[in-house]
């Protein structure tokens, strides 16, 4: 749970929202008549896989803030099930449902 005061949270949200808006506005309006350098385009292409991957693995391989690579960590097999479903179906809903179902099933079997 955050300790941040509600005033600071509003400031944080406005800063993130404002900066995100500027990123979105960048070439649509601010630099509309400029070409994007090729190096930048090539670098930006790797933002989605790299940024998302950094958000995927840590919550799967940790339990209560410390690492758990063991079978007792039911999140690992559940994530593998969901990964297979994601690749095959390319469907967000199926991926989330299969991963959660696998997690609950595993918890029920262990519990």
């Amino acid at each position: 749970m955050t300790d941040m005061t509600s005033g600071n949270i509003w400031i944080l949200l406005l800063v993130i929202g404002g900066a995100t808006f500027l990123l979105r506005l960048s070439f649509i309006h601010l630099f509309a008549d400029r070409q994007v350098p090729e190096t930048i385009t090539r670098l930006l292409r790797f933002v989605p896989p790299a940024a998302l991957s950094a958000l995927i693995l840590p919550p799967i391989v940790t339990q209560n803030g410390s690492f758990a690579f063991f079978l007792s960590n039911e999140r690992i097999p559940a994530a593998i099930v969901a990964a297979i479903v994601a690749v095959i179906t390319r469907n967000t809903l199926y991926t989330i449902c299969s991963g959660m179902a696998a997690l609950w099933l595993y918890q029920a079997l262990l519990g």
Binding site: W10, L23, A50, L52, S53, L57, F67, A83, M100
Partner: protein
Amino acid sequence: MRYFVHRSLTIVKKEAHMPELIKKTMESARSNDDLSGESGKSISSAFWAGVRDISPILLGIFPFSLIAGVAQIGAGLEPFPAVAMSIIVFAGAAQLATADLLGNNAPAVIICLTALIINLRFVMYSASLSPHFSGISRFWKWISAYLLTDQGYAVSIIRYSQQHHLPGQKLWFYLGCAIPLWVLWLIGTVIGVIVGLKIPESWSLDFAVPLTFMAIMLPNLRDWAAGVAALTSGLISVVAFNLPMNISIIVAAVSGILVGFFTESLLRRKAHD
């Protein structure tokens, strides 16, 4: 008008090489939202064509927005700022990362930097859409920029490449994709915030967050370099997990981007030899 005729001819020429199925799909699309006629009608048909194209994708967005609402309330935000975040930021992955870091009490600077690295991809979309929006007024440019999302971008850019539109129609097609997405995102967040207050922790609903990202990322790993970028970033995010101030996501993402870039350069050089 002359430009328009010329463009139609080039499209017809291009179609000669296309498989039958694609040709048929394009024909039916074109007869439904035809370009001719008075501008009011063609604008509204462009809008509804956008709504139609985004509809199947909305089904996948809805659980994502619910989870964003649940995560934002779970991080300890009050219900009002939790909902407002979906309006102010309106970017799912960054919202989920922000909620997670807020919950861990990460420093504000780290939270901002992490969200911005995740959202850097919008610069790429913005550059790609720019030539299609060149004729529109500043007001609509600002509205379109605010509404920019992965899904709205992807659906629009596919349509722009298949079919000729007048500049106004391009805007309204895009808005037809973007506005329903925005409305649904907000409804989903509100429901997520209400439900999230009542869900017991034993349900492990926080696990839905990495699952959502998996669903977005894995089907989009189209080549080796992107795979290497994802793998590098994933490994580093685990190894660097205990670095102070929750800086690990930034370190991992930047490393992944750079390693992906150099892998692609190497592969290109090899292909040239």
